[in-house]
């Protein structure tokens, strides 16, 4: 097991004091540390988009892929397909994953590829200083909508449920034990897992009071039952006031994409003998050419 302190890097943390991202960082570090007993630390890969959230990859000393805005998910899929032994965790923003890159997210869920996506859902574009996102409530006054938005947010968990995601949860950046527990379950889930994390952005959309009054932890909920999951997911629509449940909504166990794609479990990228492949290809090409003569 890796000591959590060894997961730090020398990068200076540049999040605002009080930002919810710190909880996500601390939670995931302890999850990685705990899991490093059973999963070799070199098999962890963390992937991020671009935004405040994305800086997290600079702050954790494991393999990382700091991708493009909206594009963390396909990058993570590529990594997982190349080497299914890797444990791939994506950190995405709400602008990032639910806006610019929504399509990729839905397809990753559809494929049930075994990656974990943690969305830092602060319901605002943080790094570009405060515009509305797909989960900002109706009437949100951001810098690009000074008179308030006219769009109703969508419920990302509902969308992902209908896309085929096999693990769906919601976290909150206040209450780190629950967050850790959810992250751990998500990371250990075999298949596509998503944790929509209500992350408080103290600078542009401080919902601390709002959330703290409404959140509660799911209890006596059958996570294997689709309809119960749907009902619980629909309880809060990200727009109107209602109780906000935290925890795991849904879980299903089924074959993953990479299992079906990778032909030979021992043929994983990065451990291949390319020279050997090149040699063998000589024969293969000869055969193909013969068939085309």
């Amino acid at each position: 097991m890796i000591d959590i302190k060894n997961l730090d890097t020398y990068a200076k943390n540049t999040w605002c004091p009080g930002c919810g991202n710190f909880s996500i960082l601390n939670s995931i570090k302890s999850v990685i540390s705990e899991l490093s007993g059973q999963i070799p630390i070199e098999n962890f890969v963390i992937v991020s988009g671009i935004g405040c959230h994305a800086k997290i990859v600079d702050y954790i000393n494991v393999n990382s892929f700091y991708s493009l805005h909206g594009r963390a998910v396909p990058a993570a899929e590529g990594i997982k397909i190349a080497n299914p032994r890797l444990k791939v965790i994506v950190f995405a923003g709400d602008g990032d994953a639910y806006g610019e890159g929504l399509e990729h997210l839905i397809f990753a869920a559809k494929r049930n590829i075994d990656i974990t996506v943690i969305v830092h859902n602060n319901r605002v574009y943080g790094l570009t200083v405060g515009q509305c996102t797909p989960t900002s409530p109706l009437g949100f006054k951001g810098k690009s909508t000074p008179a308030g938005t006219v769009e109703i947010p969508f419920n990302p968990l509902h969308l992902l449920l209908s896309s085929g995601a096999t693990f769906i949860a919601r976290g909150y950046t206040h209450g780190i034990d629950l967050l850790k527990d959810i992250f751990k379950q998500a990371v250990l889930h075999k298949g596509f897992s998503i944790v929509d994390t209500l992350q408080v952005c103290v600078s542009f959309y401080n919902m601390y009071d709002y959330y703290s009054k409404r959140v509660y932890t799911l209890k006596d909920h059958n996570i294997y039952d689709y309809q119960s999951a749907l009902n619980k997911i629909k309880e809060w629509d990200y727009n109107t006031d209602s109780p906000i449940s935290l925890g795991v909504f849904y879980k299903k166990e089924t074959a993953t994409f990479e299992e079906n794609i990778v032909k030979n479990k021992n043929d994983v990228s990065g451990q291949r003998n390319i020279s050997k492949i090149i040699n063998e290809r000589q024969e293969i090409i000869k055969k193909i050419l013969a068939s085309l003569t």
Binding site: V45, S67, R71, F107, R272
Partner: protein, 549 residues
């Protein structure tokens, strides 16, 4: 007769394409080198589609407008190609579907019915007839058809023989002197080159004219244990998945055409910053925008060389035939990995879907050149700033390395930086590769000279136009120059090649003369541009006339 051009035409969906290839293969077995030009509109059934199969003693890659034999499966074919007939062009046509004053009609529909065949077998019938008409032994025809018609083989053979027996011999084609060789498309040649260089995954979202690579490799993947193919949700998905996979050590190429390539440009810029070796095949077609999706063009050259924000270096190559496509595709993948750079292989519809007689060049790829990290040396830094600018490679899962990739400017370890000094040195580190790659590719024939090497008139051209220019150059006694590598541009070679030249004619399939622009940047002004931008490649006779004008 030592050379022959055959046009076979009919409705889309009637198997014209396959039939053209079959004819090519038969002629290949007769000892000829083959080139096939395919022409089809953007639709699935109906409409007019045709192939011109040209067979020749020497290696070729172009066709003439005028043909020796017309095989017409319907009336449209007879009507549309009138301009291609010479006095002695021989016409074989389906007399159940068309009328012609000249030539021999074959009641194909009737024959099919008699033999209990199905409509699409009309092709086999006319192929049989063709063989007889030009004096090919039934044995040869039978051998090839047997090998290449996997379904309903016997029935097809019967129908072919019926066609064979129905007509009488018209001319006598000689036996050629070449060994039969594979007849493959540019797309297939690119695929084989990539396979040769160790490709382990191919990803694409379908787009003409590159889709053939996806189909070919998907098929090859069924039996090749180290080859995966994937069709993600979009071209953006394609390039980002590919970059993820490459980071994890997978050798990946991706393919598309102009519209899809546009969507990949952000990822391309990322690949340069992150030093992830991606290979992209850019199959050109008539543009801008959706344009003429099944017709040819060469209007993406400058775009490929300069695209992406940041003014970064990439390797760009534009092969001119199947052999070059094979060689340079292999090298592109190899170079990409050695120098951790993006490589772009430019093809065009003519090359991608045209078929060529193929004899692979020997390729000695040195895997040891790839800078895999040796753990003894030091703590791993993904962007170690060495003297050459090349950093060591390691892949996630490696116990002794933490590998951090970053689209932001970053320090040696891969952590984001905004420091001006680090920024400057990292920019320089990446920029250096330009020179390194330039020196490396100088070892190969980055530019080719054909035709009359002593002529003071030169045709300058690129891509699939190479062969039609050679044809014209040889006939007109002119020098023909084809740069193959476009970035880093072999300017020294070009200057050498132009020694003694007083007139340069640039031949391209675009409206703005993109190669002419590129060489102008290097101080070379072409004297004349012969440009074609109606979606059709030059035919040899057309080009010769234009040059003479």
């Amino acid at each position: 007769m030592k050379e022959i051009s055959i046009l076979i035409g009919g409705k889309a969906g009637e198997g014209i394409d396959t039939s053209g290839t079959l004819i090519g293969r038969i002629l290949s077995h007769l000892g000829y080198k083959i080139y096939i030009y395919r022409d089809y509109p953007s639709l699935i059934r109906g409409g007019h589609t045709y192939s011109i199969i040209r067979a020749c003693e020497k290696q070729i890659g172009s066709h003439y407008n005028s043909i020796d034999i017309l095989l017409a499966l319907n009336q449209q074919t007879i009507d549309i190609h009138k301009d291609k007939l010479k006095n002695n062009t021989f016409i074989l046509y389906n007399s159940d579907a068309g009328k012609s004053e000249k030539g021999t009609g074959i009641p194909i529909d009737k024959i099919i019915k008699e033999e209990n065949g199905i409509a699409v077998m009309g092709n086999t019938c006319i192929i049989g007839a063709l063989c007889k008409a030009i004096g090919i032994n039934w044995d040869i025809a039978e051998k090839v058809l047997k090998k290449h018609i996997p379904k309903e083989t016997e029935l097809n053979l019967k129908i072919a023989k019926h066609g064979y027996d129905y007509v009488s011999q018209f001319i006598n084609i000689d036996t050629g002197s070449n060994e039969p060789s594979a007849l493959i498309t540019g797309n297939e040649a690119i695929s084989l080159g990539l396979l040769k260089a160790g490709l382990t995954t191919y990803m694409a979202y379908p787009m003409t004219p590159s889709t053939g690579i996806l189909h070919f490799l998907a098929q090859a993947g069924i039996t090749d244990p180290t080859l995966k193919t994937l069709q993600p949700e979009s071209e953006i998905g394609v390039i980002l998945m590919a970059l993820g996979g490459i980071y994890a050590g997978e050798r990946i190429a991706i393919g598309t055409s102009g519209g899809g390539f546009c969507l990949m440009v952000e990822g391309l810029s990322f690949s340069s910053m992150a030093e992830l070796p991606i290979v992209i095949i850019l199959g050109q077609r008539t543009a801008p925008s959706t344009g003429l999706p099944t017709y040819t063009g060469q209007s993406d050259l400058l775009f490929a060389i300069t695209c992406g924000h940041g003014g970064f270096f990439r390797f760009v190559v534009a092969p001119g035939d199947a052999n070059q496509a094979y060689f340079w595709s292999a090298l592109s993948l190899s170079l990409a990995w050695k120098y951790q750079i993006p490589s772009i292989i430019i093809s065009d519809k003519t090359l991608a879907e045209g078929a060529y007689s193929f004899l692979p060049e020997l390729l000695n790829l040195q895997e040891k050149d790839i800078g895999l990290w040796e753990k003894e040396k030091s703590q791993f830094k993904r962007y170690l700033n060495t003297e050459t600018g090349l950093s060591p490679l390691a892949f996630p899962g490696n116990k002794n390395a933490i590998i951090k990739i970053n689209s932001y400017e970053h320090d040696e370890y891969g952590i984001t930086t905004e420091d001006p000094y680090i920024t400057k040195s990292m920019q320089e580190k990446r920029f250096k590769k330009n020179k390194l790659v330039f020196e490396e590719v100088e070892k190969h024939e980055t530019l080719k000279i054909y035709g009359n090497k002593n002529s003071n008139e030169a045709i300058l051209t690129w891509g699939s136009n190479k062969d039609v220019c050679i044809e014209a150059g040889e006939i007109l006694g002119m020098r023909v120059i084809q740069p193959i590598v476009m970035s880093p541009f072999p300017i020294n070679r070009l200057n050498d090649a132009l020694k003694g030249v007083s007139k340069i004619i640039c031949v391209e399939n675009n409206i703005d003369g993109q190669l002419a622009s590129l060489v102008k940047y290097y101080g070379i002004t072409v004297d004349r541009k012969i440009l074609k931008y109606d979606g059709r490649p030059f035919t040899a006779d057309e080009l010769i006339n234009k040059i003479k004008q």
